[in-house]
Symmetry: C2
Subunit: 257 residues, 2 copies
């Protein structure tokens, strides 16, 4: 799902998300990936100042209802407050019953506003079985660092789902870096961005789904759009080049990388 | 320099290299990068069976003469035999006086023939000052692994020179991976390939020079060609995104990458 969010208009954003879930499920999709912080809008400083964390549990419940009602798995992204009181940017994978399968907190914050509003996490990306596909999560700037996707791949990820909030002018991220991450790790990467303007930021759109051979399975334009792709099945051909088998982790460690 | 080599016809290959060095120097180039194993041709099993290592010192001397005679720095790639008798694939950077500035031995061998003929090295890429530009070397398959280029970048590389021997069908390597390596490390990557057929292998050509913003400064077609690019000067704008400053090496180490 590529879409424009209304900053701090949770009801409007949840309604858009529910409508997209309904359309995607009707089209046969089994999972809907949505952009970074979509339910609350991408506005780090305003979120930090105006969002009441006490509202988050009921918002998460509403999002679980979206998944359950539409019988579709869902990845959404929201702020979360740790027991120590630190605000993080997180992503959550729910199954089609609304039950949580995986959560992840962003490790690489981008730019001064995110760094002022949030604290970076340190845990690596988890990997879970989603309908027979080993699936992982990263968020936005994280995926631009090859180390993060490598960590997911080494842990067995075949599918990487990435909510993002990428501004205009950064076309090389989806067109070059996302394709490289898919190819160099032999996995599928879905990268779902905002479109339009939120809190003065013009978003690129340009969401993509990149295949393990580095090709694009789907690419969005500048506006709101649902992008679809079908994963390679269990009978799919092995990758032509086995980067994961050919890498030399002990050697890299000896370099002090 | 993108060109077709004649397998085990060292005189013909050195003559082609000398002519290219003369043309490049006359065009104002200060360095000529040549493909993997170009002076002997890309034919791992035949090299191992038919190349007499005793011939290598005089060949290296002839290549130093090419640099000195044409007043141009040169990167060439040759087999080398270690004191323990192991054959490696190496690359060497000479200055315009023919003096060696840097050498590197390939860490990631590609495919069964290379692995039968050669032993992979384990040392990381070095970085040297070349006319005020911090310069490093990798070879072919090495650059497809993000860990190798990251190691060079962390050691300060601004320019990465990569002799390669890439077969037809692997267009995503220069068009996606090389651009990604340049962008994600904020450095310039030059990637020089063979063209035509050697020992039954059809090479892609498609050499590229990728800029720190992930764009292509130059790209070759399928045939022999000299590609030129001018590096960003010391007054060039800082990169828009500072990946090297924003990476979190301690966190990656905690993940056991």
């Amino acid at each position: 799902m590529q879409a424009n969010a209304a900053v701090l208009d949770v009801d409007a954003n949840c309604a858009a998300l529910d409508a997209a879930a309904g359309r995607a499920a009707a089209a046969g999709a089994r999972l809907l990936l949505t952009p970074e912080l979509f339910p609350v809008g991408y506005a780090p400083l305003r979120l930090r100042a105006e969002l009441d964390p006490a509202a988050l549990p009921s918002l998460r419940q509403a999002l679980a209802d979206v998944a359950r009602r539409n019988r579709i798995a869902l990845v959404y992204s929201l702020p979360a407050v740790t027991p120590a009181g630190e605000w993080q940017i997180t992503a959550t994978l729910l199954d089609q019953n609304g039950d949580e399968l995986l959560s992840y907190a962003k490790v690489h914050l981008f730019g001064p506003e995110e760094r002022q509003a949030f604290v970076p996490a340190a845990a690596g990306p988890g990997v879970v079985d989603f309908q027979g596909v080993r699936t992982s999560l990263l968020i936005c700037y994280d995926v631009e660092f090859p180390e993060t996707v490598r960590a997911a791949a080494v842990r067995g990820a075949e599918l990487l789902l990435v909510p993002t909030a990428l501004a205009e002018g950064f076309d090389a991220v989806p067109q070059v870096l996302i394709r490289a991450r898919a190819l160099e790790n032999n996995l599928t990467v879905a990268y779902a961005n905002h479109s339009g303007t939120e809190e003065g930021c013009d978003f690129l759109g340009g969401s993509v789904i990149a295949a393990p051979d580095g090709g694009l399975m789907a690419a969005a334009g500048a506006g709101g759009e649902l992008l679809y792709a079908e994963l390679p099945g269990p009978g799919a051909a092995a990758p032509e080049v086995s980067y994961l088998a050919d890498r030399r982790p002990d050697v890299y460690r000896s370099w002090g990388n």
